[in-house]
């Protein structure tokens, strides 16, 4: 038998060739692809993968020869393409044919073209370079009179088209929107949809045409346009609210069965269309009661029409429910939707059950009762054999987790994790478990055990935030010192016992966590010396599977522990071993450890016990090297310039050599401070410490948790005193459910069930209910309480402390520390002032507090008020005008109030100035009229006080009547802070009199120009209130004040600021004169000119209340290089903008 088979098999190919000859081009199924057929058959007959590979390679070789041959007909080429596609599908490389596919699409007749296009769409991807060659063909086919050709071109365009070539075909496709054949119109819309996806701004101008497509008489075209609308509405729902009516009408027609029967699918009218529309309506109605109102009817109708008989109606129902829960809620509909969800959940069909769970997952937060209704089903799903159902159930449980059911839910999740192998699942689930454990952990032991499980399972695939957060939690602790200790102790113990196990392999991340915790907190152990732990760590260190990153962590832990012991043999051994390690990093660590060990005192001060949370004072300016630098400078070394500065100089100076000595500005500050100020290095380092900047970085460091003890070597003076105030308000941990109450609950529930359903409960059932009661406990609602008899208490134990409060405390203490430790050497202010400064800062907003130095300057400025005054007047002489000068012609921009006559205005001003003595004392703007009517006029004036901006409102009663209940209110915005109460009330304003109100304004958020608006309300006799609205524009410049510092201080400050912005701007000839340019800046921006050295100038200012900003300006060949530095990251940008404006104007 077998040899007969063999013989016939060998004869087969011959027979087939014969057919072809005999039947000519007989039957499509065979002859068209007969070569393909034989290929497929021979592949099927093969037994091994290797044989297949050989065969395909042969085939490819012959194909390659055929397609490359010049005499290959297009018809043969078509056949080759089909075979190529097949080979490619099997996973073999066939890129040699790509170009021929394009050629075929270009040259072939219709049939060949079709295959050519197909091959192109299958072979090439969107960014393939060969795709450009297709553009011409597409353009040609789009212009063809043959409908089939046009269709093909549109099809290929909607599948794959190079983005940059869209303009070439766009007009042609636009024309097709008016084509008489609906299939062409439809495909054109689809092609435009594709364009909208890949290059939305290129089709923006044809949005109107989409509307036309939406109103097309053909359903297919209309349906196609919905894709575009869905996308556009997703991006910007508010722009298409007006179309809601149309969509609702269309949906009504569809639901009502007005479409051609063709579009029915299993006797349901156009389900795809319905779902598309429901989705659009959901997007439109979200958070919008008015739009939602329009859709209620049709949604109700859809729910009603969808009779449950078929999958497709379930699909529509599901979308309907989704929409109902997305839009502005309507109780009636919600009720119906909830019933629908019930149908899904209770369905025996597994697909529907899955969708039911999915629906529950997203409505559960709105409606927790729903979960209670279906709790038994959910429990069943939890043990479902299909992992997908299980996972969806866990997702659902994750959403309803609270402090009382957390342990059960997390346990279920861990069980699932143990079975799952897929990386994506592990990552997401591990993240969720960690989050829940952190939020709701019922106790120390549980928390550590759970996290151990997370680390062991999640291993090295989990998100790096998880171990970081965990360690931070341990380190920062909670409110109760004792609790913290216990938690840490428990962690140490559990890790030690884990390390006890022989040959246990832990993920690297877990080892890192362990080594950090052991290094930090093993001192809490009563028994056992560091020696034992060091030995354990050492064993890890020499383990081959430990990565070098982990080794660094372990080494850091060993270093910490070494400081706690006297002498350790293991450490000696370790040092010896790793001093010759091939890993340079390890070698360095070993050397560091060695040297530290020799100096016990230093080591102890560097590595104090339990100080991981304290802020590190990093001497960012490396001031301890200042002496070295000064020495170098004295010997004639060039001062250091940062990389970007060097580069810039290179660029601006071109190739010309600079023979002049470099301008003194920096070398002088450096060397002078180097020689004179260096005696007190603390003073220098202070400049970096004091600046808000370092406070910021310090905070960053705590956020990212300084884990490597080795780094602490760079701390200048060790650690700041331990932070004292830990006043927290988190409630104590509530005792978790007692067993007795639990049993009670179950009993209650069973009773209830018995009454209502008269069900007989088996043991198993009871077990399930027990599980249910533990799972659904504390789902916040009355029914939950009544059903389960428990109050909802949330434990905040492991929730991180409220962050703002925390940082505030921290920041205050840190500034405090800095001030105490090293403020005095620099500032002239007496030491006692610091307290005052602190209290001052305490009051300030956090963001502004960062800058203690600025406020220090401010304060010193205040002290020498009279002096400042003098300067101010001098500085502002050009931009500020005293009232009389109003009538003079001057170059500055002054707002001339248009309405009132001059005399009355002058009168008013004199009145004003008499009213406001401050006007004479301070620099101020002119009176600007804000609003008026026949009765009343409101004008205002800005007074630029040193410490704030004072807005003075003048309310003039022009009439001869009394104005009563006069109210002035300033609208509060996020940009401003008004120190006084923003409203003001005068019971009466007499006829023809003037009242004034003052407001101190502070800037809350940086801006260039913002309007401060308000309104005035008043009554005339018994008439109703009359309201007048006004607004005044405040600019950033209103809040900028000069900062008077000397060159030396400038140098120090400059180094301490991290945020810098550089920009070259063109300056006009008149400004080429540097002093003149600086003068302009001084006058218009209120900058203080600190110094002018050669062609460089330095200026300083601060933003009220105390954010300093420094400017370095260098003029060079019609260009000015501006270089801002500030402690605030955004201020330089704003100032730069102002500078540019000023420079352009003048």
């Amino acid at each position: 038998m077998s040899d007969i088979v063999e013989k016939t098999l060998t004869a087969l190919p011959g027979l087939f060739l014969q057919h072809q000859a005999a039947g000519g081009s007989g039957v499509p199924r065979v002859s068209v692809s007969s070569r393909l057929g034989s290929l497929i058959r021979s592949i099927t007959a093969l037994t091994s993968k290797h044989e297949e590979e050989k065969l395909i390679q042969q085939e490819l070789a012959s194909l390659k020869a055929t397609v490359a041959a010049p005499n290959t007909t297009l018809r043969l080429m078509k056949e080759c393409m089909v075979r190529l596609i097949y080979c490619e599908m099997l996973g073999y490389e066939s890129s040699f044919g790509y170009i021929h596919a394009i050629k075929l699409a270009q040259q072939g007749n219709l049939l060949e073209k079709r295959v050519g296009y197909l091959a192109v769409s299958l072979f090439l991807h969107e960014n393939h370079e060969l795709l450009l060659l297709l553009v011409n063909t597409v353009v040609k086919d789009l212009q063809s009179t043959n409908l089939v050709e046009v269709c093909m071109a549109l099809t290929i365009v909607s599948q794959i088209f190079p983005r940059e070539m869209i303009p070439a075909v766009l007009p042609l496709i636009e024309d097709k929107l008016q084509h008489s054949k609906e299939i062409i119109r439809r495909k054109a819309v689809q092609a435009l949809y594709k364009f909208h996806l890949i290059a939305p701004n290129q089709v923006q101008h044809i949005h109107v045409k989409f509307r036309k497509a939406l109103c097309d008489r053909d359903v297919g075209v209309m349906a196609a346009s919905l894709h575009i609308y869905l996308r556009m509405i997703k991006e910007n729902p508010s722009a298409y609210k007006d179309l809601t009516g149309s969509f609702v009408t269309i949906l009504k027609q569809v639901v009502g069965g007005k479409l051609p029967v063709d579009f029915n699918y299993h006797s349901v009218p156009a389900p795809w269309l319905q779902i598309q529309l429901l989705r659009i309506l959901g997007l439109l109605g979200k958070d919008d009661p008015r739009t939602s109102e329009l859709t209620y009817d049709v949604l109700d109708e859809s729910l009603r029409r969808a009779e449950l008989s078929h999958n497709i109606t379930y699909a529509i129902l599901f979308e309907c429910v989704h929409t109902i829960y997305t839009i502005y809620p309507k109780p009636e509909l919600l009720e119906k939707a909830a019933r629908c969800i019930g149908k899904f959940v209770l369905s025996p069909k597994i697909n529907l059950k899955y969708l039911g769970l999915k629906a529950l997952t997203y409505v559960i937060q709105q409606d927790p009762n729903l979960a209670l209704q279906h709790q038994m089903t959910i429990i069943e799903c939890l043990d479902h054999p299909d992992p997908i159902i299980k996972r969806e159930t866990l997702e659902l449980l994750y959403r309803i987790t609270n402090a009382q059911n957390v342990s059960v839910i997390v346990q279920k999740m861990l069980e699932y994790l143990q079975q799952s192998k897929e990386e994506y699942i592990i990552i997401s689930l591990v993240g969720k478990i960690a989050e829940l454990a952190e939020k709701y952990a019922p106790g120390n032991e549980w928390f550590i055990q759970t996290m151990n499980a997370v680390f062991s399972v999640g291993g090295d695939v989990m998100h790096p935030d998880i171990p970081n957060n965990f360690l931070r939690l341990l380190a920062e602790g909670f409110d109760d010192e004792n609790e913290d200790k216990q938690l840490r102790l428990y962690a140490v113990q559990s890790y030690l016992s884990l390390l006890e196990i022989e040959n246990a392999l832990y993920p690297q991340r877990f080892l890192q966590v362990m080594s950090w915790v052991l290094g930090e907190y093993s001192y809490l152990l009563d028994k056992g010396t560091p020696e034992i732990i060091i030995t354990k760590l050492y064993r890890l260190l020499i383990n081959k599977s430990t990565t070098s990153e982990t080794k660094a962590w372990i080494m850091a832990a060993v270093t910490k522990l070494t400081s706690q012991t006297h002498s350790s043999k293991t450490v000696e051994k370790l040092i010896q071993e790793f001093s010759v390690s091939l890993d340079t990093c390890m070698r360095q660590h070993a050397f560091e450890l060695k040297h530290l060990q020799e100096n016990v005192e230093l080591m102890k001060s560097l590595l104090p016990v339990d100080k991981s949370c304290e802020d590190l004072v990093v001497d960012a300016s490396l001031s301890f090297l200042d002496g070295f630098v000064a020495e170098g400078l004295d010997q004639g070394a060039a001062p250091y310039k940062p990389h970007h500065q060097r580069q810039e100089e290179k660029l601006s100076q071109g190739k010309v050599l600079n023979f002049e000595p470099y301008g003194l500005s920096f070398s002088s500050t450096m060397s002078s401070s180097g020689c004179t100020g260096r005696q007190s290095p603390a003073g220098i380092s202070l400049s970096s410490d004091v600046s808000g900047n370092s406070a910021e970085t310090g905070q960053k460091e705590t956020n990212s948790l300084k884990l490597e003890g080795v780094k602490k070597l760079w701390g200048k003076e060790g650690y700041l005193p331990k932070k004292e105030n830990k006043a927290g308000s988190s409630p104590e941990l509530q005792p978790i459910a007692q067993d007795s109450t639990l049993v009670e609950n179950v009993d209650q529930m069973i009773m209830k069930k018995d009454q209502s359903q008269a069900l007989h409960h088996s043991e198993e059932e009871a077990e399930k209910q027990r599980l249910a009661s533990t799972l659904f406990v504390g789902l916040g609602s009355e029914s939950a309480v009544s059903l389960l008899g428990k109050t909802d208490t949330v434990s905040h134990k492991f929730r991180r402390k409220s962050k703002i409060n925390d940082t505030k405390n921290r920041e205050v203490t840190s500034t405090h520390n800095i001030n105490c430790s090293s403020f005095s050497p620099l500032s002239n202010a007496p030491y006692e002032d610091n307290d005052h400064l602190n209290s001052f800062q305490d009051k300030e907003d956090i963001g502004l507090k960062k800058c203690s130095l600025g406020s220090e300057f401010l304060e010193s400025g205040l002290k020498s008020e009279s002096l400042t005054e003098l300067h101010l007047v001098e500085n502002f002489s050009a931009c500020s005008l005293s009232p009389p000068s109003l009538f003079e012609d001057n170059s500055m921009e002054i707002f001339h109030p248009p309405h009132p006559t001059l005399s009355s205005f002058a009168n008013e001003i004199s009145l004003t100035s008499s009213l406001l003595e401050e006007l004479n004392e301070h620099v101020h703007s002119d009176l600007v009229e804000l609003c008026n009517n026949e009765m009343l006029k409101v004008s205002s004036c800005k007074i630029w006080k040193d410490d704030c901006l004072l807005l003075v409102w003048l309310i003039v009663n022009k009439s001869s009547l009394e104005l009563k209940n006069m109210n002035l209110e300033i609208t509060s915005t996020e940009n401003f802070k008004i120190l006084e109460h923003p409203g003001f009330c005068f019971p009466v304003i007499e006829a023809e009199s003037t009242k004034s109100i003052q407001h101190h304004v502070q800037m809350e958020k940086l801006f260039t120009e913002e309007d401060l608006s308000g309104c005035v309300k008043y009554k005339v006799e018994e008439d109703p209130y009359i309201q007048l609205e006004f607004s005044i524009t405040l600019s950033l410049l209103d809040f900028i004040r000069p900062m008077k510092i000397c060159t030396e201080d400038f140098g120090k400050l400059w180094l301490s600021f991290a945020n810098d912005v550089k920009q070259n701007i063109k300056i006009s000839d008149s400004q080429a004169n540097l002093p003149f340019a600086l003068k302009t800046l001084q006058q218009k921006l209120r900058l203080h000119i600190v110094d002018i050295i050669g062609n460089e100038g330095i200026l300083a200012c601060h933003l009220l209340p105390s954010v300093p900003c420094l400017l370095h300006l260098r003029a060079h060949e019609g260009m000015a290089a501006l270089w801002f530095r500030s402690s605030c990251s955004t201020l330089p940008d704003y100032l730069l903008y102002q500078c540019q404006k000023v420079m352009e104007e003048s």
């Binding site: 027979l15 039957v27 599908m89 219709l110 299958l122 991807h125 495909k187």
Partner: protein, 234 residues
């Protein structure tokens, strides 16, 4: 929006792939391999939806062929399932009681139908009639060109003849070597018989009609469409 669609056999052989999102060749191959493994490992009574990587996978098995679509998280799974079914209906109508072999040997046709039905990952036309009309329009040219026998006709022919191994097998073999012209040649017959004996075991799973006929083997083929509906309701 659909990300991609795959058709593969129970043996893990890819039969058709359509990608609606630009992706490198290597990535594609990896995804196909992994996804096939996952789907093939699932038991028949399990849920048709899968969460796989960051995607949702909707799959359905028709005879020996798996249809598998990857969609985005917010898409509707059920309607995707129906989309697969509509595609199968289209194939069935075009080929006439379609089986895996039809798709293997005429995969380019299957692609054409898919392109007419889905465009760029979204449903283009849900009307069965207009999809097939568009395909037939293009096919007409082919007929002029090669004067073939239409798929339906060949089907009708093979329903009449019963080749050895019983109705079912004969009908399906029609898609392998079927053709009126050749039935007259005696050796063709032998070839077909040969196929039914030699290759049949190999192609065992590929020859079954995709739309499963549960306990209705004796029903004639032209009732297939009513059966489709019927079967779907079960």
């Amino acid at each position: 929006m659909m990300r991609f669609m795959l058709l593969f056999s129970r043996q893990g052989k890819l039969r058709l792939q359509k990608w609606y999102l630009a992706m490198s060749d290597k990535e594609r191959k990896k995804m196909v391999r992994e996804l096939m493994q996952v789907v093939l490992a699932r038991k028949p009574k399990m849920c048709s939806f899968l969460e796989w990587r960051d995607l949702k996978v909707v799959y359905k098995r028709y005879a020996s062929l798996y249809f598998c679509c990857a969609i985005e998280g917010q898409d509707n799974e059920l309607i995707t399932l129906e989309l697969i079914h509509r595609y199968v209906e289209l194939l069935d109508k075009y080929f006439g009681s379609v089986c895996e072999l039809d798709i293997i040997f005429n995969f380019e046709k299957a692609y054409f139908i898919l392109d007419e039905f889905l465009m760029g990952g979204d449903v283009q036309d849900t009307s069965k009639k207009s999809v097939l009309k568009a395909i037939e329009q293009a096919d007409l040219l082919q007929e002029e060109d090669e004067s073939p026998e239409s798929a339906v006709m060949s089907k009708a022919h093979w329903e009449g003849g019963d080749w050895g191994g019983g109705g079912g097998r004969g009908r399906c073999l029609s898609s392998l070597v079927g053709g009126k012209a050749r039935t007259k040649l005696p050796h063709t017959v032998s070839v077909q018989l040969l196929y039914s004996f030699v290759l049949y075991p190999v192609l065992l799973h590929s020859h079954l009609p995709i739309i499963p006929l549960k306990g209705s083997g004796s029903l004639a083929c032209n009732t297939m469409n009513t059966l489709l509906v019927f079967n779907h309701l079960i």
